[in-house]
C-alpha cells in the first residue's frame, strides 16, 4: 500500500459511489435476475411439489398359485389398500421381468398351500420378493406388506368367529413440529440455504474472478479506493440480492407451500444475514485464490454448492455418516445454517440451536475474510 493519505482513510462517499456502480452492473445482467428470482422459485417448486420422500403407492405383483376363498379375500384386501397398485398373475415367472425392469417394487406369492398354512402357528404362508436396488424403498414396502398381512389375519380371525387378538404392546405415535410428516416441510426451508450459497459463493466468485481475469481488479486497486472499500462496494449488491431472494423464498414458502413460520422473522433475517456474509466470504476467497472464472465456477461447485447439499442435514442425515465425514462437515458453513432454518420455521426460536450455529458461522466468516485480505495484499505487493 502507498503512503497516500486518501488511501488509508475509509471514505463513505467512495463506497457509495462504488456500490451504486456495482448495483447498476448487477441490474443490467438478466442472469442475476434469474439467480435471485427464477432459481428460488424453481427450487421451492421442486421441493414443494416434485422431490418427496413420501411414497404415494407401491406397485406390487400378486401371484396366486391356487385360487381359494382365502386367497380371494387376501387379493381383495390388497386391491382395496390405498398403498398398493397391484398386478396379478398365476406364475411368478411372469412377473419377474417387471421386477428386474423396476416396474414392480415387490412380488407377493401366495403358494398353492396358502389356505392350509394361513392359520397354522409358526408357519410362513406368504412369500415376498422385494427389489433391493433401493434399500429404503425396499424396507418401506416390506413394512407395508407386513402391515397388510397382520390386518388381514385379524380380520379373518374375527370373521371366523375367533377372538380378536390384541397385541399386548401398542405404540402411541406422535410427531412434533410436522404432524403430517411431509418431507417438504423441512426441504423447503432448507432450500433457502442452497439459494444463498449459490448467490454468495458461486455468483460472487464468478464476478470477482472476472475482474481479476480481465485485469480490471488491478486497475481498481490502483485508484484511491482501498481494499476494504472495494470489498464492501463489490459485495453489498450481492448481499442485498441474497437477502431479497431470502425474503421472496420465505413469502413463497408461507403463502404457496403452507410452511409454518413459528420463529420470529427478525431472527430468521439475522441468521440469514450472517450466513450470507459467510457465503460471500467463501466466494471472495475462491475468486482470490483462483482468479479465473472457469476454475472459480468449478471450485465453488465442488467446494461450496455440493457440500451445502450433502453435508448440511438438508436432504441427507449427518448423524448417519461415517465419523470422518462428520468431521469434514464441520468445515461446511451450510451445516450451521440449515438446522437453524428448519428450527426457526418448524419449531420456533430455540436458542440452544441458533446461538452455537451463529457463533460458528461468524467464526468461519472471519477466517474467510482474513485469508482473502492476506492473499490480496501479498499478491499485489
Amino acid at each position: 500500500m502507498s503512503d497516500d493519505p486518501t488511501h488509508a482513510v475509509f471514505s463513505v462517499r467512495r463506497v457509495q459511489g462504488l456500490v451504486r456502480k456495482e448495483f447498476r452492473q448487477v441490474l443490467r445482467d438478466p442472469s442475476n435476475f434469474a439467480v435471485a428470482v427464477i432459481l428460488p422459485a424453481l427450487l421451492l417448486f421442486l421441493f414443494g411439489y416434485g422431490v418427496s420422500f413420501d411414497p404415494r403407492h407401491y406397485n406390487v405383483g400378486l401371484v396366486v398359485e391356487q385360487a381359494t376363498p382365502q386367497s380371494g379375500s387376501f387379493t381383495a384386501a390388497l386391491t382395496n389398500s390405498p398403498f398398493f397398485d397391484a398386478t396379478y398373475a398365476r406364475d411368478r415367472r411372469v412377473l419377474e421381468p417387471a421386477l428386474i425392469a423396476g416396474d414392480l417394487h415387490a412380488i407377493i406369492v401366495l403358494p398353492a398351500d396358502f389356505a392350509d398354512q394361513a392359520y397354522r402357528s409358526h408357519s410362513a404362508p406368504l412369500q415376498v420378493i422385494v427389489d433391493g436396488s433401493d434399500p429404503n424403498t425396499a424396507i418401506l414396502v416390506q413394512g407395508y406388506i407386513e402391515l397388510l398381512w397382520v390386518n388381514w389375519l385379524e380380520q379373518e380371525s374375527l370373521s371366523r368367529g375367533g377372538a380378536m387378538i390384541t397385541p399386548p404392546v401398542t405404540i402411541e405415535h406422535r410427531v412434533w413440529f410436522n404432524q403430517e410428516l411431509a418431507s417438504r416441510n423441512y426441504l423447503v426451508p432448507g432450500s433457502i440455504a442452497i439459494i444463498l450459497t449459490l448467490i454468495g459463493s458461486l455468483l460472487t466468485a464468478l464476478v470477482i474472478a472476472r475482474e481479476w481475469e480481465r485485469g480490471t481488479m488491478e486497475a481498481l486497486l490502483a485508484t484511491p479506493v482501498n481494499i476494504a472499500e472495494l470489498l464492501i462496494g463489490k459485495l453489498a449488491p450481492y448481499f442485498l440480492l441474497g437477502m431479497g431472494s431470502m425474503a421472496l423464498s420465505t413469502v413463497l414458502a408461507i403463502v404457496v407451500f403452507d410452511i409454518p413460520l413459528r420463529g420470529s422473522p427478525a431472527i430468521l433475517t439475522l441468521v440469514s444475514a450472517v450466513y450470507m456474509l459467510t457465503s460471500l466470504g467463501q466466494g471472495l476467497l475462491i475468486s482470490t485464490l483462483t482468479r479465473i472464472q472457469l476454475v472459480a465456477a468449478q471450485v465453488s461447485i465442488l467446494a461450496a454448492f455440493l457440500p451445502a447439499f450433502y453435508f448440511s442435514n438438508f436432504v441427507f442425515e449427518g448423524d448417519s455418516m461415517p465419523v470422518a465425514l462428520q468431521w469434514v462437515s464441520y468445515l461446511v458453513p451450510a451445516r450451521y445454517f440449515v438446522p437453524s432454518l428448519q428450527t426457526i420455521f418448524l419449531t420456533g426460536d430455540v436458542w440452544p440451536i441458533i446461538l452455537p450455529n451463529l457463533a460458528a458461522l461468524s467464526g468461519i466468516a472471519l477466517v474467510f475474510f482474513a485469508i482473502t485480505l492476506l492473499r490480496t495484499r501479498t499478491r499485489l505487493d
Binding site: 416434485g50 398354512q117 406422535r174 416441510n185 472457469l294
Partner: protein, 368 residues
C-alpha cells in the same frame, strides 16, 4: 478435412492434459468426490440418539428398552425424569426420538390389557424419524409375538421376505450407481458448456473461426475431446466403484460403456445448447444451474421418481440423467436385460440428436 479435424482434437486433448487445473477439477476431483459423497448419501439411518422417560420401571418397559438399546442403530441413550425434559431435548435436537413409558405400563400388560408407550419423533427430520419409527415398530412387533407365545397364543410367524439384487440391503450398492451418473453429468457439463463459454468470452473461439476450419468441424473438434475427457473421468469413477467400494457389476460392461457414450453425448448436447444461447461465462454457469438442479433432483437420485406427481414423472422422461440412473443401477445390480437397457437408451439418443443439432444450428446462426 480429417487431418484438420484430427489436429484440432489433438490440440484440445493436449491442452486439457497440460492444464493442471483442468486435470485436477475434471479428471481427479470427481472420482474422489464419488468416494466421499457416496457415504453422505446413504440414507440408512444409524447413530441415532434416543431419549427415554421410564416412569414405569417395570419388567416390560425394561425388556422393550433392552431390545431397542441392543440394536446397533442407536448410538446414545439419554434418560430423562419427565416428559418436559425430553421435550426440551427434542427441541434442541439432542435426541431424534423419544420413548415415554407411563406409570403402570407393565401392570396393564400383566392384567392382560393392551398397554401403550409413546413414541415422540422430531418432524424437522421427518424422513429419518419415519425410518426410526419403522425400526421401533418392528422391535415392538416381534416382542408382541414373544409375549403372545408366552401366553399360549400363536400366530403364523408372518412373512418370509427376500430382497433381490441387494440381499443385505447394502445402502452403498444403490447409492454408488446413482451418484456415478450424477457426477458423470457434472463432468460432461464442465467440459462442454463452461469450456465453450470461456473460449467465447476470451475471444479464442473467434480465432478458431478465422482458421480454415468450418464451424461444423470446430464443433466436432470441441465435442469429441470433451466426450473423451468425460469418458476417461467416468471410467476412473467406474473402477473406483467396483474395486474400492465393492459394488457388484453384474451386467454387461460393454453395454454400460455404450450407454455412457450416449448419455455423455446428450449431456454435452445440452451443454452446447446452453453455451450457444449465453454471452458470458457467468450466464453459462447460471444457465447450467437452472438446468442441472431440476434435472438432478427429478432424476430419482435423491428420492424415488415414483413419489412424484404423474405429470412430473412424464417430464422426467425427457431427462437423460433419469434414464442413465436406471441403466446404471440395472447393469450394476440386476444384470438388466438388453431390451430394458435399450428402452432407456433410445430416449437418450433422441435427446442427444435433438440437442446436438439445435446447438449446432444456433451456433452457426450466431456465427454468420
Amino acid at each position: 478435412m480429417l487431418t484438420r479435424l484430427f489436429a484440432l482434437i489433438k490440440k484440445e486433448l493436449l491442452a486439457s492434459a497440460r492444464d493442471r487445473q483442468t486435470r485436477l477439477v475434471v479428471l481427479i476431483a470427481p472420482p474422489f468426490l464419488l468416494l466421499i459423497y457416496v457415504f453422505a448419501i446413504t440414507q440408512d439411518v444409524t447413530n441415532i440418539s434416543l431419549g427415554v422417560v421410564d416412569r414405569d420401571q417395570g419388567r416390560y418397559s425394561r425388556e422393550i428398552l433392552d431390545r431397542v438399546v441392543g440394536s446397533s442403530r442407536f448410538q446414545e441413550i439419554l434418560y430423562f425424569e419427565s416428559e418436559a425434559e425430553l421435550g426440551a431435548a427434542i427441541d434442541a435436537q439432542r435426541v431424534l426420538v423419544g420413548l415415554h413409558f407411563q406409570d403402570g405400563f407393565s401392570r396393564r400388560i400383566l392384567r392382560r390389557h393392551s398397554s401403550n408407550f409413546q413414541l415422540l419423533l422430531d418432524g424437522r427430520r421427518s424422513n429419518a424419524a419415519q425410518i426410526v419409527s419403522g425400526y421401533i415398530y418392528r422391535i415392538t412387533e416381534s416382542y408382541n409375538l414373544e409375549l403372545l407365545d408366552e401366553a399360549g397364543i400363536t400366530m403364523p410367524t408372518a412373512v418370509i421376505s427376500r430382497t433381490w439384487f441387494n440381499a443385505n440391503s447394502e445402502p452403498l450398492w444403490s447409492a454408488t450407481p446413482a451418484l456415478f451418473a450424477v457426477l458423470a453429468s457434472i463432468v460432461g457439463f464442465m467440459v462442454s458448456a463452461l469450456a465453450i463459454a470461456r473460449e467465447r468470452e476470451l475471444g479464442t473461439f473467434e480465432q478458431l473461426l478465422v482458421s480454415p476450419l468450418t464451424p461444423f468441424e470446430i464443433l466436432i473438434g470441441k465435442t469429441l475431446p470433451a466426450l473423451l475427457i468425460a469418458l476417461a473421468s467416468s471410467a476412473v469413477m467406474l473402477a473406483f466403484s467396483v474395486f474400492l467400494l465393492d459394488v457388484p457389476l453384474r451386467g454387461d460392461l460393454a453395454a454400460l460403456f455404450l450407454a455412457m457414450v450416449v448419455f455423455l453425448l446428450s449431456i454435452i448436447g445440452i451443454g452446447l445448447f446452453i453455451s450457444s444461447i449465453v454471452r458470458t461465462q457467468q450466464q453459462a454457469v447460471i444457465g447450467l444451474f437452472i438446468y442441472m438442479i431440476p434435472a438432478v433432483l427429478l432424476s430419482g437420485y435423491a428420492t424415488p421418481v415414483a413419489n412424484m406427481p404423474d405429470w412430473l414423472q412424464l417430464v422426467t422422461q425427457t431427462n437423460p440423467i433419469t434414464h442413465f440412473i436406471v441403466i446404471c443401477k440395472g447393469i450394476f445390480l440386476k444384470d438388466l436385460p438388453a431390451s430394458d437397457i435399450w428402452a432407456h437408451t433410445w430416449p437418450m439418443i433422441v435427446i442427444a440428436i435433438a440437442t446436438l443439432s439445435i446447438g449446432t444450428w444456433l451456433f452457426n446462426r450466431r456465427l454468420e
